[in-house]
Structure formats: C-alpha cells, structure tokens
Amino acid sequence: MSAPSSWRDLLRYLITQSGERERIANEIGVNPVTLDRWCSEKSTLRSRNIGPLLQTVPVAQRELLADLLTQDHLLADELAITAMSPDELERAFFRQVLVARATTEEVLLFWIICRQILQHALRRLDPESVGMAITVAVCMPPAADKRMIRSLREIMGLGTPPWPGDLEHQSMFLGTESLAGYVVRQGRPQAIDDLRAQHSLLPAYQTEYEVSAAAHPIMYANRVAGCLLVSSTQPRYFVSPARLALIADYAQLIALAFCPQQFYPLEWIELHMMPPLAVQRQLLVSLQQRIMQMLKEAFAASRSLTRDEAEQLAWQQMEEELIELST
C-alpha cells in the first residue's frame, strides 16, 4: 500500500487482509463492525482501546500506527496521559499545584490549594469509594495574650459516602484526645489499624463511620501548622507503605498553602483535652451569631474588623470556652 496518511487508512488496509478483521476485533474485544466504523469515522476510537489495538496489529506496523495515532489531535493528549508512569502522573499533579500557587490571588490561595490537593487525594486514596474522609486540621492561632497552641481545628475536608462530600460544616476542635493532636505534638506521622480495638496505645477519638485512620503533620522548617487526617471505613486501610507514602506526599504539598507564620515550633504545642463532638456542637452552632455580634460591636465602636478577622476571634472565643468546659 502507499504510505497511509492517517491511522484510519492504515487500519482500513490491515483489516482487508485475510482473516485480520475478525482476529483484530476478537483480540481487542469489539465487534468487527466497530473496526469498520472507526475507519469510516462513524464511531470514536476510545482511549481504552488504543493500547489493545497497538498490541494486536502486526509488529511491523505497530510503530507506524502509534505515530499516526499521535497525529490525531483528539487522541494525542489522551494518549500522552495514558502513557504516563505513576511517577510522571504524580509530577504532573505537583506541577498543577505549583501553577495554582503561583497564579492564585493571595486571599484565595489557602482554600484553593487545600481543596485542589484534597480533591486529588480523595480520588487517589479511595478510588473504589469504600468510604473515606480527608480533613485538614490546623493549629489554632493563640489569642493575643497567649503563646501556646492549645488545640487544633478541622477547617476543611472532603469525603466519600457514608461521609458527606463536603465536611466543612462538621468542623470540630481536636486536642490531646485525638490522633491528629498526637501527630502534631510529635511532629511525626502515625496510623491506627482498627479504632474498634481496645488495645491501641495511641490516643484516638473515633468519629462516626471511622474504623482506621492515619495522620501526617504539615511541616515547614521543622515547625508544624497542623496535620492531614485520613479516616477510612475499612480496618487496616493504612497498613500499605505505598498508601502512607502518598499521604505523606499530600501533607507535604499542603504545606505550600500555608504562610510561614502559620507554622509553630513543636515546643509551642501544648494541647488540651477537648470535649466530645456532641458537647462541641452546642457551641459551634453559635458561630455565625458570634461573628455578627463582633462585627456589630466593632461598627458601633468605629473599629475596623473584617468578616474573616471576626470569624477568627469567634473561633478563639469558642476554643477558650471548650477548654474551660473540659477542665
């Protein structure tokens, strides 16, 4: 045949050879008519069929077919990504995070980077949707008259069922009673295989649906800003070193969302015991009310106060009250 100008021309030629149409279709797992439809542009060649197609054609034509496929602009990008190794895919994702960090307005940066990483982490760590919650817990900035970090606060999270998709409204304070608290105090990652077992030496506050958990500190310059907390409905979900390494990668990436002053020396971490969620909820429902009250007071006193500043003050106020409650 003369030099084919497209992968369709080449495939059309190949399937006219005796018995090849049926053989190729059979090995790919499609109907022979589908090959005709690919050639005549009546049907779209899917990326999942590209690999099997390349493997099925005679070796002599394989390289030419691969070249022609990459010249099809609709397939080229998808081919490039399906050909990436896991390491290359990780690097591609890291690049996306770095681009977001370089190009996002400062006021949105923290939220965007954290959400970007959580979106990817949830798909990667729970591809079968067996049930996972991934939460970012941060050190509560000390009030003006204090220096030590007394609690952590869950500030955002994403989940797959049975957890809701967005965990932000389930935010709670964590202290010494929690795995997150332990990890932040130690500055080292930790995992618990089965929270239902009684013999764990690690502190762990078991939330609804949670059977196993892993936490990794978010660090910069040997200081800590909080931790990435991953919970699963499955026992021993974090036994796999590869899975733990992924969690470590995500925690280190999330550090890019924080500014240097959000990291605290480990010796400043003096967590208190925080009350259970049911107790905390009684206070947490008053958040919006507190914010509005502070804004009204600031307005009446002609003091400048943004909503974000008021929210931070409200969280500090509630932290103080919860610590008092638990002592």
Binding site: L89, Q96, E105, D166, H169, M292
Partner: protein, 290 residues
Amino acid sequence: MAYNPSETGNYYILGDSQAEAVHLIEQDRNFTKSMRGLLPEQPEQEIARLHDVLDLGCGPGGWVLELAQAYPHLQVTGLDISQAMIAYARLQAQAGGLDNAHFTVSNITTLPLPFPEASFDLVNARHIEEVIPAASFPALVQEMVRITRPGGTIRITGSEWGVTTSAAYEQLMTLLLQAARRAELDLSADGRNLGVAPWLRRFLHDAGCVNIQERASALDFSAGAEQQLSGYRDLTIAFALMQPFLTGVGVTTQDDFEQLYQQLTLEMSEEHFCGLVYTLTVWGQKPQAR
C-alpha cells in the same frame, strides 16, 4: 488572563485558571446535591441502558468524573475549550483509575463537534450559558441532536444567578448581568436576568426533539440551610475570581468591586440572610429513525 473571547474563543468569565478548575469542581458538587443527583430525572433502568454519554463544556470534569465513577458501565466523555480544565480533569480521572472517563479539547461554538453522527446515547450540557454566546445556542442544540443516537437523550441545565436578601449580592449581580450583556452571553429581553431557562424547551423543540420534559430545583444557601457554608464559599470565591471579568468588561472599578465584596461577606453572614439559585433541567429525545 484577560477576558478577550473574540480573539481566544474562550468565554470563561472566571479565567480558566487552576483556581477556577478547583472552584468549578466544588460548585459542581453543590449543584449536583441541590439537583438531587447526577441524572435525577432519568429512571435507573434508563441509565442502565445507556452506554456512551457526552458532557459539553465539561470544565474540569466534575460531572463526568462523578458519573463515570457511579456508573462503571458507561463510557463518559467530557469536552471543553480549555486545555487547563481538560488537563485537570484527566489527572483527576487518572488519580481515581477511571478508565471510562475521557476528555477532549474542543470549542463548542465551532461546529461541527468532532464526533460522528449518532455517537452518544445521552448528550448533556450543564451551565454552558455562562461560557458561550447566547446566539450560539440554537445551532449547538441542533449539533447535540446530530451526535445523539435515535431514541437518545439531549439534556440541558441552565440557571439564573440567584436572588438574595443581600444588597451587595444584588448589586454584584447587576454588574455581572451588565457584563454578560456586553459579552453577549445573556438571552433576556432587558438584561435584568440571564434569561436562558425559558428558552431551553424551545431550543430542544426547534432542534426536532420529542418527549420534552423539564425539572426545576433550587440551591438554598440561606442562613441555617444545609448548603449555607458551601454556598458562601462558592459565591465568595466565584466573585473574587470574576473581578478581572467585571473590571475588564468595564462595568466596575477594582476599588468599587472590593468595597462591594466586603459588604457581601458581611451580609451573607447575617442571621436572617436568605439566598436561592434556581436551576432548570430540560431534556428531550431524538426521534427514532423511520
């Protein structure tokens, strides 16, 4: 990136950045929740009969990824003009091992679409009124019908941009609608709303669809509502991202915008704040071949 669709063909009003990709995934989740599912109007036995699904203007692929994960028997393709959005979607699909989710870069205002006739069982478009000129709609719907198999479904979801008790929100919406009108995105008679929803049934009818039906839903982000916090985040981030569009089209200045933005964050935190976004899904079938 400056808003310049006449040169780029890209009508992303929030800038098609990484930040916008992240934001759109979250916004998609909120809409899916308020609509009660990915295909809430389609009976499960109908979904079981589908094989190939296309989502036009898929952005970073939120709907495609969720559908591909929920229904592994489907082959779901997303198409969008933005390389950045499609790259984002592909990495998400790879992360989740979703080999039944596919993505293609193409402009939905440049027809024909790069698919043979009768390629899909269902062709979907959600909220494309924000990213294509209103005048492009009729021809696009005709094209959706062409690539749908006989008996297959064409499905379009459009929204109005919300009604609230916040004066700042309403002012920002007025600016946004003025900007949309200048960018030729709106279909309304007087520019006081986007005006796409009333047209959807007509578009499907004029394109030859039969059995046209519709379903409305509302996203409630009032104080105390389940979606208050996610709605607050979504809107404050969306407004922050659309500032270059509003100033670029010339309907406000940066200083005026920032003042309104601060006022918005306060008013949306008020105890009696109420806010709703209305959404309408209209779907119809391509007639069976005679």
